[in-house]
């Protein structure tokens, strides 16, 4: 027993010593000296995970250290984000946050254990996934104008599917409804898969969903798309008009993904991470893979930490009035 305790004490001391050893050289000029953990608040294989992996694989080459992705799921990504907010601010724990964890969560979760603006240092905006207005293939309206008129006239009758409270499909449809000033019934599903199944089967009328899941179904004609909620058309769906073209410019939404560090991480570290992220976004292979997913790559002026800080601020302001009454 005594020897065991001695062993444990020894192990603790060793751990402390190694911790000190890490703290000391964590200055920017030789950052990073060991591998970096990137927390992804969603399951492996989802849009945020895929974007994180594509970008960090390139960043790791630039930084000369590996970046390990850790998928931490639960409570709409807020579990992982809370963990990241409490992590050491030495630049070795980062998080890929998104529209949900760093904006919509503020009105959605009144007891949120972190604040997206106060507890994080923004690093860079990575990529966004555009949102589409989709409907079952035999839904009467033929284009977005008819859709708007139809939903307004039949707000009592139509059903909007979404992938669960707080999901991108939920919050973006809430935004659409607040713009149209209607409150149709929202039918919750457990994830986008079952929601898409219900839309293909015609059990629900429409939904707002990210482009990745929808492209093959639209191309196969099992569902139809009215518009894409971004300023420009997307190369993977060249025939789908933008909301601006189709007459509903107010509806702009994309599930953006961005990299954050815990509050207090040194500006030099932020700068080197930002530079590595920008370099990754400019790489042809990275660009090609992101575009294949239907993602939108931010323009150079939107890639600075300051631009991301502004984005988070604006997004919180955008979602708060939309989602507050819903909860």
């Amino acid at each position: 027993m005594t020897s065991l305790r001695a062993l444990a004490t020894g192990a603790c001391a060793a751990a402390l010593a190694s911790l000190c050893a890490f703290v000391a050289p964590a200055k920017a000029q030789n950052y990073p000296t060991r591998s970096i953990t990137m927390i992804v608040p969603f399951a492996a294989g989802g849009p945020t995970d895929v974007i994180s992996r594509i970008v960090t694989a390139h960043m790791a080459q630039t930084l000369g250290q590996s970046i390990i992705i850790e998928n931490v799921v639960g409570a709409g990504g807020t579990t992982a984000t809370t963990r990241a907010a409490r992590a050491a601010n030495d630049g070795y724990t980062l998080i890929t946050g998104h529209m949900g964890t760093h904006a919509a969560s503020v009105p959605l979760y009144p007891k949120l254990a972190y604040h997206p603006e106060k507890d994080f240092e923004p690093i860079a905006l990575l990529a966004g996934t555009p949102i589409l207005i989709l409907a079952r293939k035999d839904f009467p309206p033929k284009d977005l104008k008819e859709f708007v008129a139809y939903v307004k006239a039949n707000a009592e009758k139509v059903n909007a599917a979404h992938a669960g409270v707080g999901s991108v499909s939920h919050v973006s449809c809430e935004l659409l409804h607040s713009i149209l000033d209607v409150k149709p019934v929202g039918v919750p599903f457990n994830g986008t898969g079952p929601a898409m199944n219900a839309l293909v089967a015609g059990q629900v009328d429409y939904m707002c969903d990210q482009i990745v899941n929808a492209v093959p179904q639209i191309n196969a004609g099992t569902i139809k798309a009215y518009a894409i909620a971004t300023p420009e058309r997307n190369p993977s769906l060249p025939n789908v008009p933008t909301t601006t073209e189709a007459g509903l410019p107010a509806f702009q939404a994309q599930a953006w993904n961005a990299m954050f560090a815990p509050k207090g991480t040194s500006p030099a570290i932020i700068a080197s991470l930002n530079a590595a992220a920008i370099k990754a976004l400019d790489d042809e292979t990275v660009k090609k893979r992101l575009l294949e997913l239907g993602s939108v790559i931010p323009a150079p002026k939107d890639r600075t930490p300051e631009a991301l800080a502004t984005l988070v601020k604006n997004e919180i302001a955008k979602w708060t009035p939309v989602l507050k009454p819903a909860t």
């Binding site: 989802g46 998928n71 179904q217 893979r289």
Partner: protein
């Protein structure tokens, strides 16, 4: 396109050395995952997904698919040997499987589980290849109302499962339903019965409760009841490793029926495999000449659910392969694996990615062959495990369970909760409550609630929707019929025979 040409193409893809290796790795990992209690397929596929990013997409998916159906083989092992279901789908296997083990017939139980799984796997593979596209319609025909009615039927099955008092079985189902309601409300996101514990925000995990009420409770009871002595008896009683001719004859019809039931229910997204195993068990118990044998080591009670869960695990690929829509969490991860390789599955995936689709279908048959070759010799090793003295065995089971539970969410709270459920489970055993209906209630609870609410949201609160939709009405009629059997006093004598065992 000719089906044989497609299959030949698929086998050509699946038989390439790299894909064969991937299939073998998948089958091995799947068996391991199934055997280790608590470590589920979702967690494993999620953990292994990043590794597959460096592999060719077909190989990666063949491996992930192998893990998924391989776990169905392994899941029965701990159910039979130590009464701890490794997967939700092998909960019913524990009922008769563990009784068989106690009678020294662990070998035949394990072997028949593997043989049943293999047969079901082969049939389901052919079914996917031949009827995949038309069967897709079934997945689309099932709306919220139909699901709700199916879940009602599932809960009625749970009553039939009980070998003791019907009232106690119903109490357990209701308790299971209550437990399933912990977590966030699906419609409003409001927190229910979570007591501000963040780990409970997403609800109680199946593994946590199953390990508690089955695993830990069983251990406490064994220690309490002087297990050493009982186990010595078990060791002396071990008769043969392989099923006898009579066992095989007895098991053939249940395997056939289980395969049919499993294949149909597997196509339905979400929970299909679990209901399939319960339904197959119930069907056997209803058809048996002497239902009293069930719960006391009837080999049919192992053969049917194990065939059903494997058939279901395989036909659940149909919506993914024909529609491109993942029917459950594991499939969603596979879609993630495809996405990362730039393949986004959709309704045209069969035409656009014939290598992938037919390669995967062919690999399933090869994988099943590998699994039976892996699993039959393992039977001897597993049975020998029973000879390990219990004082060494129980700490290892506790540790494996604890690791398994922790690995699901990396949450220490889950392990503590499992301990609490162990005590609850011990109390339940002591008072003759059975844990299987509780777990079924817990698995079906969320599906039932969500679909009830969805159906009523869509119908604007009109309950008649459950009766006006034909599929739903038929399912409810069957449920009602089963319930009638238990309630009608005129049928009381028969009910006692079917639903309960004599009070002894």
């Amino acid at each position: 396109m000719d089906i044989f040409a497609n299959l030949a193409h698929g086998f050509a893809v699946a038989l390439s050395p790299i894909n064969l290796l991937m299939c073998l790795i998948g089958a091995l990992v799947g068996t391991l995952v199934g055997v280790l209690p608590g470590i589920g397929t979702i967690a494993t596929v999620a953990m292994l997904l990043p590794i597959t990013f460096g592999l060719p997409p077909v190989g990666a998916l063949i491996m992930l698919a192998g893990i998924y159906y391989g776990a169905q083989y392994g899941g029965s092992t701990t159910s039979i040997l130590v009464n701890i279901p490794g997967e939700a789908t092998s909960v019913v296997t524990a009922i008769d499987g563990h009784q068989m083990a106690k009678q020294g017939r662990a070998g035949p139980a394990l072997a028949i589980a593997a043989i049943g799984s293999f047969f079901a796997g082969c049939v389901a593979t052919i079914l996917i290849a031949v009827l995949g596209a038309p069967l897709t319609k079934l997945a689309l025909a099932f709306g919220p109302a139909e699901y709700f009615s199916l879940m009602v039927l599932g809960l009625i099955f749970a009553v039939v499962l009980a070998k003791g008092s019907v009232l106690k079985a119903i109490a357990m189902i209701v308790f299971g339903l209550l437990l399933s309601m912990v977590g966030s409300d699906i419609e409003t996101g409001a927190s229910r019965m979570a007591f501000n514990i963040p780990e409970l925000a997403d609800g109680l995990g199946f593994a946590t409760v199953a390990m508690g009420v089955f695993g830990f409770a069983e251990i406490i009871r064994n220690l309490d009841a002087g297990a050493e002595m009982n186990r010595d008896l078990v060791q002396q009683k071990i008769t043969g490793l392989m099923p006898t001719r009579k066992d095989l004859v007895d098991s053939t019809p249940p395997i056939l029926r289980g395969t049919v039931l499993g294949s149909i229910l597997g196509i339905l997204p979400g929970g299909g495999a679990v209901i399939a195993s319960f339904a197959a068990y119930t069907l056997e118990k209803k058809l048996a000449k002497d239902p009293k044998r069930f719960g006391r080591g009837a080999i049919e009670g192992v053969a049917a659910p194990e065939s059903a869960n494997n058939a279901a695990a395989q036909t659940s690929f149909i919506p993914l392969l024909t529609l491109g829509i993942p029917p459950n969490a594991v499939m969603a991860l596979m879609v993630g694996a495809m996405t990362i390789h730039g393949i986004v599955p959709g309704p045209q995936v069969m035409q656009k990615q014939p290598d992938l689709v037919w390669g995967m279908i062919a690999s399933m048959w090869i994988g099943n062959l590998m699994l039976i070759i892996i699993n039959l010799p393992l039977v001897g090793i597993w049975v020998r495990l029973l000879r390990v003295p219990y004082r060494l065995m129980f700490p290892s089971i506790v540790i494996f369970c604890a690791i398994g539970i922790y690995s699901v969410n990396n949450a220490p709270v889950d392990v503590i909760l499992a301990g609490v459920f162990g005590l609850v489970g011990y109390w339940l055993i002591k008072h003759d409550f059975e844990p299987a209906p509780l777990l079924l209630g817990m698995v079906l609870g969320p599906l039932m609630e969500e679909n009830l609410r969805r159906a009523l949201l869509i119908s604007r609160g009109d309950w008649s929707v459950f009766l006006t939709r034909p599929l739903s009405a038929v399912l409810l009629a069957i449920s009602f019929g089963l319930l009638l059997l238990t309630v009608l006093p005129a049928l009381r004598a028969k009910r006692d025979e079917v639903f309960t065992e004599s009070e002894n």
